[in-house]
């Protein structure tokens, strides 16, 4: 800092602070935000977030288009899993529910231990196990944290065919186990994250 | 009517004033002091001196605040040390208090509780601030200036004391 410009700078600073210039600048910024659009997603009862496809949520087991299980019970996913949370017990089967005669008798994942790393889907030779876009996993019932093959084979709530993420309007669905709020995929606003 | 109010305020003021001395916790004393001062302010209102009342509250609010700060920051609230320290002064203090009461009793016995209106009519007194201000800046200008000068000296003295301390340290 040299002296000659010091005086000029000090005068400038003085005028600036006497006229509250910085203050006005700050107020202007916040005023701009006040009238800007809110970025809140009114989850869950009005809007719901649809994650992008690379999202890693709860596992699903996929089937072929003819409805045969893709899983061949090779246990590679279970071996690859760093937290050892997948249990696979294979069995012989010739009724043709799988693509081969070897299917999983038990295919169980313990989501409390899972860290959603996605190693299982990388290890799978048949692309049977995928991490889906299901993210509403919180529960008050500890037994709901373990998912069996039966549930994992059910179709995803957000099918694979929906590309990209976004915000969808929420829809109330009444069924015999109570009211559920699901995303109305027809009214979805695509977002780019 | 006014008499009743006066007695209410006066009794509370005296009780509070006694509590200031009696209560063991200095912070309680500060609280009672505020109560006492507020009652005195109320009595000023009864005496048709709202300006004095407001000033009383206004000035002593700050004053008691400072007192409170000192109580918390400086005083170590250990009762024993206070008692020990006070011991040698006890007789002198009691003597001073007794003397003060004698003087007060003498003055009180000669006066009356109601106030004379003085040279002012009701209408003039309604403009209380003007009356006080005019008196202060004309008739009593010399004492007023002397008092402000004394306060200034006290202020400067306090600053000088602090500055000396700092200088010797560094």
């Amino acid at each position: 800092m040299n002296c000659s410009c010091g005086v000029g700078k000090r005068i400038k600073d003085f005028v600036k602070s006497a006229l509250f210039l910085d203050f006005i600048k700050g107020m202007h910024v916040t005023l701009g935000y006040l009238f800007s659009k809110s970025i809140t997603i009114r989850y869950p009862d009005e809007e719901k977030w649809i994650p992008y496809q690379r999202f890693r949520g709860r596992h699903t087991l996929n089937m072929t288009s003819e409805g045969k299980e893709l899983c061949v019970a090779c246990e590679l996913c279970s071996k690859a899993c760093p937290t050892d949370c997948i249990t696979v017990i294979p069995m012989e089967d010739d009724t043709g529910i799988g693509i081969t005669d070897r299917v999983a008798k038990v295919w169980k994942v313990d989501l409390v231990r899972c860290l959603f790393c996605g190693y299982c889907e990388d290890a799978c030779p048949t692309r049977a196990v995928r991490l889906s876009r299901e993210y509403e996993l919180s529960t008050t019932d500890i037994s709901r944290t373990k998912f069996e093959k039966r549930e994992l084979l059910l179709p995803e709530s957000v099918p694979e065919q929906v590309h990209g993420g976004g915000i969808a309007k929420a829809k109330f669905v009444r069924s015999k186990d109570g009211i559920k709020i699901v995303a109305n995929l027809g009214k979805m606003k695509k977002m780019r994250w | 009517m006014e008499q009743i109010f006066f007695y209410i305020f006066a009794v509370i003021a005296v009780v509070a004033a006694v509590s200031v001395v009696v209560s063991r916790n200095p912070v309680h004393s500060a609280l009672f002091l505020i109560v006492c001062l507020l009652q005195v302010a109320a009595i000023f209102v009864l005496l048709r001196a709202p300006f004095l009342a407001a000033t009383q509250v206004f000035v002593y609010v700050g004053a008691v605040m400072v007192l409170f700060l000192f109580t918390v920051l400086v005083l170590d609230i250990g009762r024993e040390t206070v008692v020990e320290y006070m011991h040698s002064h006890a007789f002198a203090a009691v003597g001073a208090v007794v003397a003060l009461f004698v003087v007060l009793a003498y003055i009180a016995s000669r006066g009356t509780i109601t106030v004379p209106q003085g040279g002012f009519s009701e209408e003039v007194l309604a403009k209380n601030v003007e009356v006080v201000g005019r008196a202060l800046f004309t008739k009593y200008i010399f004492p007023f200036e002397v008092v402000s000068f004394l306060l200034l000296i006290a202020l400067v003295g306090a600053i000088v004391l602090v500055m000396n301390e700092k200088g010797s340290k560094s």
Binding site: T30, K37 | V27, P50, A54, K127
Partner: protein, 347 residues
């Protein structure tokens, strides 16, 4: 025997005070909602949205929550003062409003009776307000001390030191107004500003705006608003003086705080922006003048309340030494110079 006029005066007085108290008690509810909405939108959020349309019932929900919350008194606290402190904070906040005029004297149509739109016209109104406003700080200090917690104590101490420093500047600003308006009575102060906005004290150039800024800065320091809310500095003191309070006692502190916010806004309007006077005098046929007064009064006060909220969510908090510097080294010298200039202008 019975003096009818006196009884009517007393009844009117009681009704006015009752009305005022009711308004003041219910005012913090919409204010909390507005404050949270403003906070939300400035942060590009929505603010409360779930209780009622646009979250309008949120304050009710909060009140119910506070009513049913356990009222904890810390074991090592000074119980009496701890319980008294919220009241000490709240009562002066209400008492201040006795002296505040929301309108002038109005002749009620049909019954041809004069009515004052204020409780009393005190001869020393401004002094009374400053004195009462100062008393409110004791609630904070005693509450902080009585909690027997270091955060609360530090909050209380900061508040005391801050109040001592800024009371001076605030009083100087009041002195400036008194010099410009030639009266301590708030009704007179407003009346001298009537006629049009060029008569407002704010436009008493060149000193008016300076007094206004001194007043608003010192005022926001007095009521512990950001950027001067060191008494409840969340970053360093948990919640400051009310760390240990919960339930209704806590809500009393909140009440006092919001009423103080209203007080400073009202004072800013009364002292600098012509009180109830409209910017340009006008009358609308068949509309009583009192409505016009009330309309402008409420509008102006709302603008100031909004300003305070806006500032709150814009500025960061000052550091303690900066706070003291602003108080003693900037505001007070400027006030002294300004008093001199104002004095010369009034000769």
């Amino acid at each position: 025997m019975i003096d009818l006029a006196l009884i009517i005066t007393i009844i009117i007085m009681v009704v006015k005070v009752g009305l005022l108290t009711m308004i003041l008690f219910s005012l913090p509810m919409p204010l909390t909602w507005i404050e949270r909405k403003v906070a939300g939108h400035i942060h590009a959020r929505l603010g409360p949205f779930r209780v009622g349309p646009h979250g309008i019932m949120q304050p009710m929900a909060d009140t119910v929550k506070l009513l049913f919350k356990e009222d904890i008194v810390p074991e090592k606290a000074d119980k009496l003062i701890f319980k008294l402190a919220p009241l000490i904070a709240m009562i002066p906040a209400f008492a201040v409003f006795v002296a505040i005029p929301v309108g002038g004297t109005w002749t009620v149509p049909f019954i041809d009776q004069e009515m004052n739109l204020y409780v009393t016209d005190m001869n020393v109104g401004l002094l009374y307000i400053l004195a009462m406003g100062g008393l409110g700080i004791y609630g904070i200090i005693f509450g902080g001390w009585a909690s027997n917690s270091k955060y609360a104590l530090l909050g209380g101490m900061r508040s005391a030191a801050q109040m001592i420093s800024y009371e001076v500047a605030l009083s100087f600003a009041a002195v400036g107004v008194v010099m410009m308006s030639n009266s301590l009575s708030l009704v007179d102060i407003v009346n001298t500003q009537g006629g049009g906005f060029w008569n407002w004290n704010f436009f008493y150039l060149p000193v008016g705006p300076v007094w206004f800024f001194i007043f608003i800065i010192a005022g926001s320091a007095e009521i512990n608003r950001i950027p001067f809310d060191l008494a409840e500095d969340e970053g360093t003191l948990a919640a400051g003086f009310h760390t240990e309070y919960s339930g209704m006692k806590f809500s009393f502190f909140m009440l006092a705080e919001y009423i103080a916010l209203v007080t400073v806004s009202v004072l800013a309007v009364v002292l600098f922006f012509g009180g109830w006077n409209p910017p340009i005098d006008y009358t609308i046929p068949f509309v009583p003048i009192a409505f016009i007064w009330l309309f402008w009064f409420v509008i102006k006060v709302s603008v100031f309340i909004y300003m305070f909220m806006w500032v709150r969510f814009t500025l960061p908090r000052y550091r303690y030494d900066q706070l003291m510097n602003i108080g003693w080294k900037i505001l007070i010298p400027i006030s002294l110079v300004n008093i001199l200039i104002t004095g010369f202008m009034r000769i």
